[in-house]
């Protein structure tokens, strides 16, 4: 479906969508308490795709779960389309309009506090990129999450080690990343972000009491398609030629 969207819209953040596929799959299959027919159900769990440019991965999952018709996928970015190049709240299942990086954790903080004040069991999951962790607002929010002991808030990092220009390690290194979140007061887990079984186990395990959670997912940008993997030039494609789309499909061996 991600490739259908790329094909239909002629553009998209390819690598950023492919690195989160398994994470989003496990969240919607096994973790999130949501109702596709009732997307604003108050007691639902919230999922914010803070790295909004990974939206093709989210759109595919929301369509698969029935939040909106699959036929919308191939229309993305076209005039009059439901789906744009970043998620917006007019799309059923999208909790926050993102695209500008560093906003999701702050909004998630407010949602997690609201759930606590309203005595709801809703949990809040925020998925950020690794490049996104360059934003100071993420760390401001991390301080506040820790202060309030928001155990109903889970930050998921798509740590694919690549950002737009190149390697995270070259542009703005994050290591030691787990230690940083621990120092900020988070309960931290690390997991292979493409290992569905391991992801299920991590999310099923109880978090650290009275601490917000950080799940660092080690991933591969452009996962599953050899020409995209680890390749910064596939961060975003604005003009996809038919032969490139064919190559993507061939790599996944889908029609």
């Amino acid at each position: 479906m991600v490739i259908d969207a790329l094909d239909g819209g002629g553009r998209g953040h390819v690598g950023a969508a492919l690195s989160i596929i398994e994470i989003v799959r496990v969240l919607y299959d096994d973790v999130l308490n949501v109702r596709p027919a009732e997307p604003r159900w108050p007691d639902r769990d919230r999922f914010i795709l803070s790295k909004g440019h990974g939206c093709l991965g989210l759109y595919a999952m929301l369509a698969d779960k029935g939040f909106f018709p699959r036929s919308e996928i191939a229309q993305q970015c076209r005039p009059g389309a439901l789906l744009g190049g970043h998620p917006e709240i007019r799309t059923p299942g999208v909790e926050a309009s993102t695209g500008a990086l560093g906003h999701g954790l702050g909004i998630g903080l407010g949602m997690a506090l609201a759930a606590r004040m309203q005595k709801r069991n809703s949990r809040v999951f925020v998925l950020t990129g690794d490049g996104e962790l360059n934003e100071g607002s993420v760390w401001e929010s991390a301080l506040i999450a820790s202060k309030h002991a928001l155990s109903n808030l889970c930050l998921i990092v798509d740590y694919n080690k690549m950002q737009s220009y190149g390697r995270v390690a070259d542009i703005l290194p994050l290591e030691p990343l787990a230690a940083k979140f621990e120092a900020f007061g988070f309960g931290v887990s690390e997991v292979d972000g493409h290992d569905v079984v391991a992801l299920r186990q991590v999310f099923a395990a109880p978090g650290t009491p009275n601490r917000p959670r950080a799940v660092i997912c080690h991933t591969v940008k452009g996962r599953g398609i050899p020409i995209c993997e680890h390749n910064a030039s596939w961060h975003h494609k604005a003009k996809l030629a038919p032969d490139q789309v064919a190559e993507l499909r061939q790599a996944l061996a889908v029609a």
Partner: protein, 303 residues
């Protein structure tokens, strides 16, 4: 005016369980009474404006009405993208209470003087931009903020500002109020400049010029009808604002006149397009800019 505004947040919290207060790192003891009465709806989250705006957005998405308070420059410049995206794009009922609008923090220099806040807030879709004239109007205004569905920017004056609004004013967002009827010219003023415009009108009356004052507590949405009625009836309009001449009330009035093809002469009295270069007091800097009653009257009398 600031004390009144915060006291009203407390009062609104008593009336409505959706009201939440969010501060950054305010002066010790700020809104202590509310903190004691409603500890669960009182947040003081440190010098982290970007996160605080996001937090307020998240609270508003789940049914709360957050009143966020810090210094005007920090709540506008520092977290502009959060205000634009988290609040305005989602069109959430978050209120930004901005301490020290205009030149209030004169002794503290240009980092603390909000001279372009009205302009940058006005440029954002869905944002309501307000500057009331005095503490009494603040009380009436705060009641009107409770149920408004969109974000509201609330510019505060220094405090102790002269009360110029009538006690029987029914505050409606988007409505201007005539403080003095106009004949020869009409001042259109916002915030604490209403009192300076009244002072200038008194000086002009000594010279036989009958100047009226239209006070515009809501810069956006502007009360188009009230301004247009004046523009059609009075020979000359003079806008008065404690704000850069770019993008504030004067700009809003000029845009309105042009859009309605009205040739009414318009004089825009405002701060120059540069960062304040002096200290002293708000009054001193207003005088330097010609925005005290005498300076305003002199500008009007210039040929």
């Amino acid at each position: 005016m600031r004390d009144t505004s915060l006291r009203m947040v407390h009062e609104l919290a008593r009336r409505d369980p959706r009201v939440v207060f969010v501060g950054s790192d305010l002066g010790a003891g700020a809104l202590d009474a509310m903190r004691r009465e409603f500890p669960d709806r009182f947040y003081m989250e440190g010098v982290s404006e970007a996160a605080i705006i996001g937090l307020a957005a998240g609270l508003a998405m789940d049914g709360y009405i957050p009143y966020v308070n810090t210094i005007a420059t920090f709540i506008t410049r520092r977290c502009y993208e959060q205000v634009a995206v988290d609040l305005c794009l989602h069109n959430l009922p978050v209120r930004l209470i901005a301490n020290g609008g205009g030149l209030v923090y004169a002794p503290l220099g240009p980092t603390h003087m909000a001279i372009e806040d009205l302009a940058i807030m006005r440029a954002l879709p869905n944002m309501v931009v307000t500057a009331v004239a005095d503490a009494e109007e603040m009380k009436r205004f705060m009641l009107a903020t409770l149920d408004h569905p969109s974000p509201i920017y609330i510019r505060l004056g220094k405090g102790g500002d002269k009360v110029v609004t009538p006690a029987d004013q029914v505050f409606t967002l988007g409505k201007a109020i005539e403080l003095k009827p106009a004949k020869d010219l009409a001042f259109v003023a916002t915030g604490v400049m209403a009192s300076r415009a009244l002072g200038a009108a008194a000086l002009l009356a000594e010279r036989g010029i009958e100047a009226g004052v239209l006070h515009v507590p809501t810069v956006k949405p502007l009360d188009d009808a009230a301004v247009l009625v004046l523009a059609r009836r009075v020979p000359r309009l003079v806008t008065v604002e404690e704000h850069s001449r770019i993008g504030g009330l004067g700009s809003a009035v000029a845009e309105l006149l042009i859009d309605n093809r009205l040739p009414t002469p318009l004089l825009r009295l405002a701060l120059p397009d540069r960062f304040p270069e002096d200290y002293g007091s708000q009054e001193h800097l207003l005088e330097v800019a010609g925005l005290d009653p005498k300076g305003i009257a002199q500008s009007v009398l210039k040929p």
